[in-house]
């Protein structure tokens, strides 16, 4: 039966998650050079239309339609057939089915948008659209089904509260593959790529944090104690991530930076995502600290390896999702969420193993399929901008616009 409190909550949470995509656009947009800010924003916001359209025809039914062999949903919900204002019998039974559908849509939208940070400032718009669409269909939808739609990983007992695997590990792995295939920006390692507008990035951070409450809190699919737990651990891990990154950076490079504080917050928030509704607040503090620390180290490490993951999608989302998924294997507690599991620290080492298998499967699958998609798209329409267009910048070269006039 429909509960107005739950329905109100998930509708507002869906709105919050939608807001994360423009929030991400600002977060990323502030970090690029001013000649690429519109192109960067566009790569995020266009996902709202591209992926939403895909979602209502294909994505929802592939992800949440009746299961076929543990691998994918069937076409029963093509064009939202059977998805009405009555509750689904399977998912979120106290809210209208379409509310569940639209809430999940917002997750599908932001995931490919997250990847764009890896190849910022150098990709053509048309092949980028092809890539994102194919990736949503071939990577996001199946993985989403495996874990949240009753697929084989769900059956195995892999847990992911709000998208550590489905969102962050997939986008992190895709980011790594993409920035290697596409290659570094012109002048990488020689010229300095300094963020053109950090207040914009910080505004985006604020909106992301705000939206993340909908992302993690809403994943309880009801306004109940689990939502409360998820909401609280989200805030706690975000602040712990910010605290940790700030302190480590202060110690390590001499000054605490605002970009560091923002990065640490996002790292903490990404890290808690898979675990949010399954762990205690005190565990969330530790998970947030771990996220802040390990993502900081990952970002530093990148500078050694020399690939140009321009806005650190691998270091923050990939590593965050990875660390959080493992941490869930350690800190999960059925005392907190009886629908969850106990982790290693609660006497159940096998759950940690399950989580590691989940990471292996999702990571491996994403890596291979992303690589194939990139190669295929490149063969049809090269992703990389031409040298002098890259010099001119995406805003004029790809969109015939200028971001700023005096």
């Amino acid at each position: 039966m429909i509960q107005s409190g739950d329905t109100a909550f998930i509708l507002i949470c869906a709105a919050l998650v939608l807001l994360m995509t423009p929030g991400l656009a600002l977060f990323y947009g502030g970090m690029v050079r001013s000649k690429n800010v519109l192109g960067t924003i566009m790569q995020s916001i266009i996902m709202i239309s591209l992926v939403s359209l895909e979602w209502i025809y294909l994505g929802y039914t592939m992800s949440f339609g009746p299961d076929v062999a543990g691998l994918i949903g069937d076409m029963s919900h093509f064009a939202l057939a059977g998805v009405t204002a009555a509750p689904s019998p399977d998912y979120a039974t106290t809210i209208p089915h379409i509310v569940f559908m639209i809430y999940q849509c917002m997750f599908a939208v932001i995931t490919p948008a997250l990847i764009t940070g890896a190849f910022a400032e150098r990709v053509r718009f048309l092949p980028f659209i092809f890539f994102s669409l194919l990736w949503s269909v071939l990577v996001y939808n199946p993985v989403c089904h495996w874990i949240w739609g009753g697929g084989f990983l769900a059956t195995m007992g892999v847990l992911d509260f709000a998208g550590g695997l489905v969102v962050h590990v997939t986008c992190g792995v895709a980011a790594l593959v993409a920035c290697i295939v596409i290659g570094p920006r012109k002048g990488f390692g020689k010229r300095s790529f300094i963020p053109h507008n950090l207040p914009m990035t910080l505004t985006g951070t604020g909106l992301l944090w705000f939206g993340w409450f909908g992302f993690n809190g809403g994943s309880a699919l009801a306004a109940d104690g689990i939502a409360a737990t998820a909401f609280v651990s989200t805030h706690i891990a975000g602040m712990a991530g910010m605290a940790m990154w700030t302190m480590v950076e202060w110690y390590h490079s001499g000054k605490p930076t605002t970009l560091g504080a923002a990065s640490g917050a996002i790292a903490g928030l990404a890290t808690i995502t898979p675990a949010a509704g399954f762990v205690s607040p005190n565990s969330a503090v530790i998970i947030g600290f771990l996220g802040g620390l390990l993502c900081y180290l990952a970002v530093l490490a990148k500078n050694r390896f020399g690939y140009d993951d321009s806005l650190d999608v691998v270091g923050i989302h990939g590593v965050g999702g990875l660390v959080g998924t493992i941490a869930l294997g350690l800190f999960a507690s059925t005392a907190i969420n009886p629908g969850g599991a106990d982790g290693l620290f609660y006497g159940n080492p096998s759950f940690l193993l399950t989580q590691l298998i989940g990471i292996g499967v999702v990571g491996g699958y994403t890596l291979v399929v992303t690589w194939i998609i990139l190669k295929a798209v490149n063969a049809i329409s090269p992703l990389r901008m031409e040298e002098n267009e890259e010099e001119v910048g995406m805003d004029t070269a790809e969109h015939s616009e200028s971001a700023y006039q005096a």
């Binding site: 300094i194 950076e249 490079s253 001499g254 000054k255 930076t257 560091g260 990065s263 530093l300 500078n303």
Partner: protein
Amino acid sequence: MKKIEVITRNYKLDDVKEALTGLGIKGMTVSEVKGFGRQGGHKEVYRGAEYQVDFVPKVKIDIVIDDELVSDAVEAIAAAARTGQVGDGKIFISPIDDVVRIRTGESGSEAI
């Protein structure tokens, strides 16, 4: 006629302007510039990557005046802009062949 180009600290702009108007100079043109010099720059850090930024914000003031005003103007400017710290900036003096006031078409000293 001469052009006096002053490159100095941003926050000295008002003082220099007052010094010049004190001499009866009624016009000048200002732009924001970045300077490289003995003053040195600073370090910036973005996600662990360090950059040395050698340029510091400065203001450039262009004043075109008659030759006989130059030495007074230079003195007044230097007095107004001086802090005694490295980075106070420079005054460059260069020749101007002619000046035209667009509004009236006047030229030469008349036009300043």
